[in-house]
Symmetry: C2
Subunit: 176 residues, 2 copies
């Protein structure tokens, strides 16, 4: 992967995340990346191809991020790590996550597959802890964690920090 190709991907990620796919012209991407517009099409075929490359990168990045939770064998730790997940987002990853969430609303990319393994592992954890409805608990916790992630993208990590402790304590109590 050449430096220019990487630059294009980086700039496109930022712009797609902020202004949306249709709200971002290839011209703007080229300008901000200090690259000719033609180069984008040489490397990615068309604009959609550029987005696809970004989506593929994201899939890999997501599985790396979720891996430590999936390997965790202690149910209580699985839950705690899941709650902590959105708080591990650093500011330079904001564009990445923003694009992920936005794409859920695009008809072509709404696949939910990436988070399925985490959901399954959460179900298992609640099940191991004898919750009567483990699947539903997993769905709910997943919803909470996703909403927190979205909130953080909007207002920053700090604004939600107190929720982390609150949630961990809440789920700890229920586990006693």
């Amino acid at each position: 992967m050449t430096d220019r190709k990487k630059k294009i991907l980086g700039v496109a990620l930022k712009l797609f995340a902020n202004d949306g796919f249709n709200g971002t012209s290839t011209k703007k991407i080229a300008k901000e990346a200090n690259v000719s517009e033609g180069l984008i099409f040489r490397h990615f075929g068309n604009k959609k191809g550029l987005l696809n490359a970004l989506v593929q990168q994201a899939a890999e990045r997501t599985s790396v991020l979720v891996a430590p939770i999936l390997k965790e064998a202690h149910p209580k730790i699985v839950i705690q790590k899941t709650i902590e997940l959105p708080f591990t987002i650093t500011e330079n990853e904001y564009s990445f996550w923003k694009l992920q969430f936005k794409l859920k609303w695009e008809n072509d990319y709404k696949s939910n597959e990436k988070m399925k393994p985490l959901l399954d592992h959460l179900s298992w954890a609640f099940s191991a802890l004898r919750y009567p409805e483990p699947e539903k608990e997993a769905v709910i916790l997943n919803y909470i964690v996703e909403s927190i992630a979205i909130g953080i993208l909007r207002d920053g990590t700090q604004s939600h920090e107190s929720l982390k402790t609150f949630l961990i304590e809440k789920y700890k109590t229920l586990l006693l």
Copy 2:
């Protein structure tokens, strides 16, 4: 409000919700509404003006929908009605809600003001029920309810029906 103006608003709502603001051309709106393209600009000035009209309609519609909960004086019922809220969405309102949620990602429309009164009333309800952290409980429940709404928009009401009972029971138990 003339019939043609209403028609434009209805078609624009559907298309903006499905394909996004930038993904929808005024030409397409005009064609689907059986109206000349010029008429859109006569009525709404420009494309953004059309979106603004939609946003204003939505604000009114939202406050009507939330009103019954805000008037509710029994804290337990406030919580139950909040949980039930997303399940009252009918299919012909899907576009309306879809646009609402999508706009949260648009830099110009991310205002969260519309749901603030509900959040405050929820806080009050949890407080009245002696929860130690009423504001946080309100935020969490609000997150859950929003996520369910989004899930319903994706997969239909039926797919989440069992969660409704589950949640109502869960919060009932915690209140004993």
